[in-house]
Symmetry: C2
DNA sequence: CCCTCAAACTAACACTTGTTAGTTAGCGTT
DNA sequence: AACGCTAACTAACAAGTGTTAGTTTGAGGG
């Protein structure tokens, strides 16, 4: 159990505030108050407000990229790959509830790292789409517009951070299994 | 074809800016520039920045509430009701692409109207959940956690505004039909 | 020709923003 | 005792914030 540095603590608290009000609405004085110090003192630990956002978003985005790579390199069937992706999202979302909010809602406030983020997101979606297309070609999946399938799955998965905190007892495996049922097999009898 | 008033034009342009950068990051000077006038001139037409947000969010939220009421009062089967709800979201999202962004991302910046908005949203979700629960009881739907079903459908539907603009040719009926297939019947063979 | 009115303008306000500079206090090591 | 390090502080700045007051412009109707 590695001890959290002061910098990590600031970033963690910042992510929580960013989730509640959004990046732009959170001031350095808000963040300082939440940390119990003065705004200027924050700069002993961090470079800038922007830098906090960069750290939060890019670290999670890279985690997703890495996870997708593992899924792609596996020899699983299409449906099994999709289940792995669901599990990936449940895992990352449950471990980064606050950061996921910034990833979803504040990515446009990135500056120097904006293009890098967009390229990660783009590639992720391309890889996701390609898995679905292969599933349709091999008749594992129904012949529905693959973009609609991806959109439906991805928006649900990307919104997990909103919903997970509302569940008192969270069993990550249970949630992933239930989501697999609903997303892959549908809801009707 | 009713002519758009200057006030309506400002609100429409504001919604577009709010979608791109979020409510807090859009200044009255940004909005004025987009309108081709000076910031102070905006106040000949609108009361405050807050008021613009109120108008955007509350009008759409009430549209959803009204639509849900119609669905509830119908004598349709559960599955047919869910299809009506999908159609409702596709319709409202396609007609309010910009406003939907504020509804999803900037509702927390409401002040006087925050509680009213939250009550509308709460009731909407309760009604949605109740339809799903009835569907499970009457064996129209699989016996899966009804909250997960609602969460999955609702997050997909609420994110439509992100995705609709990316589709060159948008046929509202096509989109609703495809979403129904994916959300209700699943994606596997 | 004057009046009205919508819609723009300039100038200014009080306050908030992110950030910097320079300083101080406490603590462990030499 | 002196040093260096961490982490806080006060004070300040320049730019930007939403908003108000008062004024000007131009078009249309009596």
């Amino acid at each position: 159990m590695k001890q959290e540095t002061r910098k990590e603590e600031i970033i963690r608290v910042a992510a929580k505030l960013f989730k509640e009000k959004g990046y732009s609405a959170v001031t350095m004085r808000d963040l300082a108050t939440a940390m119990g110090i003065k705004a200027a003192s924050l700069y002993n630990h961090i470079n800038s407000k922007q830098d906090i956002l960069n750290t939060i978003i890019i670290s999670i985005a890279e985690e997703f990229t890495q996870g997708m790579k593992l899924v792609q390199d596996s020899k699983l069937s299409c449906i099994e790959k999709l289940k792995q992706i669901v599990a990936l999202h449940v895992k990352i979302a449950s471990e980064n509830i606050y950061g996921m909010a910034s990833l979803n809602n504040d990515w446009m406030h990135l500056e120097t790292q904006l293009n890098y983020y967009l390229s990660l997101r783009d590639n992720y979606e391309k890889d996701f789409l390609s898995i679905i297309q292969q599933g349709i070609e091999s008749s594992e999946l129904k012949e529905v517009n693959p973009e609609i399938i991806m959109f439906s799955m991805l928006t649900t998965l990307r919104s997990l951070y909103i919903w997970i905190p509302k569940k008192e007892e969270l069993n990550v495996n249970d949630l992933a299994n239930n989501l697999n049922k609903v997303l892959i097999h549908g809801i009707n009898i």
